[in-house]
């Protein structure tokens, strides 16, 4: 008896051990990837942000303490970049989330050919941003023949003169925002669509019996049930908003007069144009801290509900 019992125990232990081993083995490649591609470079960036390392300089690299941080924080372009990123996030997160929700609700029905619509709305997410940017560059073309200008003048009966969207300090950032929302909204839509399909149908049926209207059903069933996916999409969109770079690099190069510069754009400029690796590292470390703080605030303000009743 005792032997059998200990055998069994051994069995479970070795089984557990092997499960643990398998777990580590399975997670291994990803962990190595994170370590090599994220953790180590980031630690290196922290170290380098205290140095004056420059690309190709034959001079020895020196430790400069917090000088790079001082410079970055007193640089008007960095402050402007931070402001632009903030405006971008403040506009894009609510607009894109609302739009995605509306699209998800509209597409969450059994209809012949609904898959085609879903695919169509999801398509921009699949396109590379470089391609999207080039297409929108054509849409934003200045002069009366630019597609967007033509639409605007048609709708306003020629009251509005053609605008050079990407070279106008007022319109450049909104132009970037518009194309970013168009490109990104499909992703959130899919997440919310998945969330919608998780909502038990019985809730709607019982609401119908209580004679709740469609608006009331949306407000009291759909929205609360979608809480977690909504928080997730808002969080991800905020982080992506601070990572804004591709469309700026391709369409406006941060201009006109810093109207569309972003933190990422400034970091890339600093290292590849001004050859200041140390300073660029300081920017990325600050960027990390900013994203960390924003994520933390969002998480504490709106905690996702965890399912604890099991």
């Amino acid at each position: 008896m005792r032997e059998v019992a200990s055998d069994q125990m051994n069995d479970t232990r070795s089984w557990r051990n092997s499960e643990r081993c398998m777990g580590i083995l399975m997670a291994g490649p990803a962990m190595v990837g994170i370590l090599v591609f994220v953790a180590i470079p980031f630690l290196a960036a922290i170290g380098l942000s205290f140095s004056d390392l420059r690309i190709g300089s034959p001079l020895p690299t020196r430790f400069v303490g917090l000088q790079q941080y001082e410079r970055v924080l007193s640089d008007p372009s960095f402050v402007r970049a931070l402001a632009n990123n903030t405006v971008f996030a403040v506009v894009v997160v609510p607009v894109q989330t609302t739009l995605a929700l509306a699209m998800a609700v509209a597409l969450n029905r059994r209809l012949a050919g609904i898959a085609i619509f879903r695919t169509a709305f999801f398509m921009p997410v699949v396109f590379p941003m470089a391609l999207v940017a080039v297409v929108w560059q054509l849409i934003y073309a200045p002069g009366p023949n630019g597609p967007l200008n033509a639409v605007v003048s048609f709708c306003t009966f020629d009251a509005v003169a053609p605008i050079d969207f990407l070279h106008d300090p007022i319109f450049a950032l909104p132009a970037i925002i518009l194309l970013s929302v168009w490109q990104g909204v499909g992703f959130q839509m899919v997440v919310l669509l998945a969330g919608l399909q998780e909502i038990p149908q019985v809730l709607y049926e019982s609401a119908e019996m209580d004679q709740a209207g469609s608006w009331a059903r949306f407000l009291h069933i759909t929205l609360p049930q979608l809480r977690n996916p909504l928080i997730f999409t808002a969080l991800v969109t905020t982080i992506l908003a601070f990572r804004l770079f591709d469309q700026v690099q391709i369409l406006t190069r941060g201009g006109p007069i810093a109207a569309t510069t972003t933190i990422m754009y400034e970091a890339v400029q600093t290292v590849f144009r001004r050859q200041q690796v140390g300073q660029a590292c300081a920017i990325t470390v600050l960027f990390f801290l900013i994203v960390l703080v924003i994520t933390y605030i969002q998480r504490t303000l709106i905690r996702p509900e965890r399912e604890v009743e099991q």
Binding site: P256, Q269, R274
Partner: protein, 454 residues
Amino acid sequence: MSAPSRHPRQSPVRAAASKQLKCGMCFVMLLAFGTVSSSCDDRTIDSAESARVSLHVWGHSGRESERLTLQSQVDRFNNSRSGVFVELTLLPEGSYNSQVQAAALAGELPDVLEFDGPFLYNYVWQGHLVPLDNLVSGKTRESLLPSIIRQGTYAGHLWSLGMYDSGLSLFANRRKLLAANARIPSGVEDGWSAEEFCSVLAGLAAIDADGAVLDLKLNYAGEWYTYAFSPAIQSAGGDLIDRTDYRSARGQLDCPAAINAMTYLQNWIRRDRYVDPNLDDNAFVSGRVAISWVGHWEYKRYKEALGDDLLLLPLPDFGRGTRTGQGSWNWGITSRCRNEKLAADFLEFLMKDRQVLEMARANDAVPGTLSAIRLSALHKSGGPLQMYVTQLSEGQAVPRPQSPAYPVITALFQQAFDDIRHGADVRKVLHSMAIEVDQDIEDNRGYPYERGGE
């Protein structure tokens, strides 16, 4: 990290941190240079073959005619020498400097390197090039166009040879100028002053459908801004940097004359709306504008479109006489080269009249030697592009700042011009750029230049 730690227990931590740091750096570099090094793997195999001496050459992949010409010249060189093999690798132009920097860090530079002229001083400072003083014959050096010697000289040595140089000026439509009753300058000496240029533009705009009569090639951006528009500052009496010691930009870049010159340009673009955005690059050939501020590379296309109505005129004079840009791709020998004699032989071969003329025909640039210029129908005395030669030999052409800080200066100027073009306050833009240039020079301890034991 700076103060030496007195706590013995901290040192292993620091050591580990620095090790980690190094690992990270190594990895980043590995990633960056993977592509470059893979293309150079064959070099060791080649050097093992003692029968054949090989020379690795990197050039930029320009237009197709240029590429074909260079390749055929390399083939000709290989056929004319026994036991010698020049292997040509062409790199894309857009990221050329980054690729050179990456290769240099990885110790994988070729023997002979082509590079854009104004980057020379940075490469010399970084120790990537060897001086050509004792490698190239006096005859070759004497035949060079003065602008190419000026471009290739740094710290008292000659570092590069150019098969061609560039020409920058105005192309104008004679018929439109006559219609606007504009005076037509006859050459470099009697070009329009900036003031007169304004009234010419006004006259042209008065008879133009949309009033946009000037093409500044704003569609190019990038290095074009520095190449094309810093001569305006120099013509006014300012400069991108104080060239007496290359230590400071303040007082030169933000002096009233420089501000004045850039204000002219800003007004033409913003206030007067004289400048066509030229998104299709056809503003001049389609007849939308009367004047195009552009380099030699447009000559053929413009000539085809306008025929005898095409005029070549100097850039406007902003106060101290007209100034223009210069500089193009140059050849140098790297400090990694193990056969400098052969490399020099190859460069001398490229600088012979036949090769120089072939290349000038392929890319329409100004031939790099005086003897080739005399043989070039376009550039010889009385030729339609003779003015380019005059500008390059008589001092109107100004090399971009001959300083290792140039890559930074041009990056900052491109940004500054972008801001000016969009209506920012010229004085503020130039002043803050000057401060940034000075900051960079200070960060690099004045770019001290010492040549090691080579």
